[in-house]
């Protein structure tokens, strides 16, 4: 799978961990989004951080620098398609 067609999801044990890393990463101007965790990444609900392929290296550095707690990082083919027209 080409890197540009991939997205990364940072998964957490709880939302407190997720919000802490989100704030740390955003304070450094790195582009990430809070996302519901895709089912293919985990059967548990809750927030994850959606990171593009161009930013994942920086996010990994942030995790290391801040010693942020997290569960794991999952690489997935791009999940988002605005023209899928599947609502819930």
């Amino acid at each position: 799978m080409p890197e540009e067609e991939k997205d990364y999801y940072v998964l957490f044990h709880n939302h407190t961990e997720g919000l802490e890393l989100y704030q740390y990463v955003r304070s450094r101007g790195i582009s990430v989004k809070i996302s519901p965790t895709p089912r293919v990444a985990s059967v548990c609900c809750g927030m994850s951080l959606l990171v593009g392929a161009d930013a994942i290296a920086e996010v990994r550095q942030c995790i290391e620098a801040s010693q942020a707690a997290y569960d794991r990082i999952v690489a997935l083919p791009r999940q988002i398609d605005p023209h899928r027209d599947k609502f819930c």
Binding site: H15, C44, G46
Partner: protein, 423 residues
């Protein structure tokens, strides 16, 4: 990962069935919301709320119950939340906006009932929504025939109090509504064990007015061109306002408004200047009903305002804060709530006036009048809406839809043609 299964099981939910909703929500939210570019930073809060939609807020409500508090579920803008909060309770919106809940609703209601009612009843009887399980009491109202009968079904399973809505707006109808609010106060006092006093009612009036002011600030920013916030994001903020803690709701909406006002000063928009601007009017869009807004905003236009229960009606008009007695406060509540212009009233010229006013205020290039299938009231009122808009030279498109995906492509074609026609 956050695991709420234990909490859901303790609520008596059908966790296996609920899991199907958990499986599709991330995809729908990603496609609809996370596909947008250049969103305001402060939308992250709302993304977080959706990501934890059946976890964080339900857990807060359960904590409130453990401390002896009550949670009352509501379905309509006419129910005065102030009474609930004054008595130390929490009011939370319960309307269902997902097709997922409709089949369970159809087990106990006729199929030709509007999807909002079917989904709301389905969420309770199917035991697939924590909010519907947590609420200690439901507060219904007589805004339409479908709802009136739905309360009878729900009352077999959960305590329900029904407020008898006036159908007209004469002075005696406002008086009647003051009486209904009084009856509601008595019910809430008995249920919570707490008295509604002038002081705690004043605090609740101020609390909810602050929420209305904050939501109004965000909406005011949508009058700018380029518009600094998508219609989808504004809709999400409104949907969450129905069940979030009101103080936090105001705080987060004010933060968003701060950012939007800065964007306007910087000339920074989420759509290019000159993008065709749509006012949406009609039936409410309960969470997670994002279909229409998504279709409009992926068809070359932007939604700049919603004249509906999940739009301006929710925050326009404040309750007077300078009342000297509790009787005056009740009168102020009734007057404020009776200013809402729902299609359940006859006549309902106020709604037509609102649509025309908002179309001008928000500089709408066109209006989309949307009707949830089987909502007779809004469907019938569509004729007057169309006539008034055409008289003013404002293009209008009437649409009927439900929560399914099946008409998405057809709607996209019609919306696309409408936007193209706007020039």
């Amino acid at each position: 990962m956050a695991d709420y299964h234990e909490m859901w099981e303790s609520l008596g939910m059908d966790v296996k069935a609920h899991d199907q909703l958990c499986a599709v929500l991330p995809t729908a939210f990603g496609d609809t919301y996370l596909s947008q570019e250049n969103r305001p930073e402060n939308m992250a809060y709302y993304d977080f709320v959706v990501s934890e939609i059946h976890g964080v807020r339900p857990a807060e409500l359960i904590e409130h119950q453990k401390a002896g508090g009550k949670v009352l579920g509501t379905f309509c803008l006419y129910v005065p939340d102030e009474i609930v909060f004054a008595a130390g309770g929490i009011a939370t919106g319960l309307c269902g906006g997902s097709q997922f809940w409709v089949p369970d609703g159809e087990k106990v209601l006729p199929k030709n009932t509007c999807p909002l009612i079917k989904a709301s009843v389905g969420a309770r009887v199917g035991r697939t929504c924590p909010f519907f399980r947590i609420a200690d009491m439901y507060v219904g109202e007589t805004t339409c025939d479908g709802k009136k009968k739905a309360w009878e079904v729900l009352a077999e399973d959960v305590p329900v109090h029904v407020m008898d809505m006036p159908q007209m707006k004469r002075p005696q109808d406002v008086q009647k509504w003051i009486g209904e609010i009084g009856i509601f106060r008595d019910v809430v006092e008995k249920f919570t064990g707490n008295k509604v006093t002038k002081e705690n009612l004043q605090a609740a009036i101020v609390l909810l007015n602050e929420k209305r002011r904050a939501l109004a600030r965000v909406f005011a920013c949508r009058k700018a061109d380029p518009v600094p916030l998508s219609g989808k994001d504004a809709l999400l903020m409104m949907q969450i306002a129905f069940y979030d803690d009101p103080g936090r709701c105001a705080e987060m909406a004010n933060k968003l408004a701060d950012e939007l006002e800065q964007r306007i000063r910087d000339g920074h928009g989420v759509f290019a200047k000159g993008t065709k601007r749509i006012l949406v009017t009609g039936t409410p869009m309960a969470i997670p009903n994002w279909k229409l807004h998504h279709l409009i905003e992926t068809s070359g236009a932007v939604v700049v305002c919603e004249e509906c229960c999940t739009g301006t009606r929710y925050f326009e008009n404040l309750v007077a804060e300078d009342c000297q007695t509790i009787e005056e406060q009740f009168s102020a509540l009734a007057k404020r709530y009776m200013k809402n212009n729902c299609a359940c009233f006859t006549p309902n010229q106020g709604r037509i006036d609102d649509i025309l006013r908002l179309a001008k205020e928000y500089k709408a290039d066109g209006v989309i009048d949307v009707n949830l299938k089987f909502c007779t009231l809004y469907d019938m009122e569509g004729r007057d809406v169309e006539r008034a808009l055409k008289k003013e030279g404002i293009p209008v498109l009437g649409l009927e839809t439900d929560y399914t995906d099946t008409d998405a492509e057809q709607l996209r074609t019609r919306i696309g043609a409408f936007v193209e026609m706007l020039g």
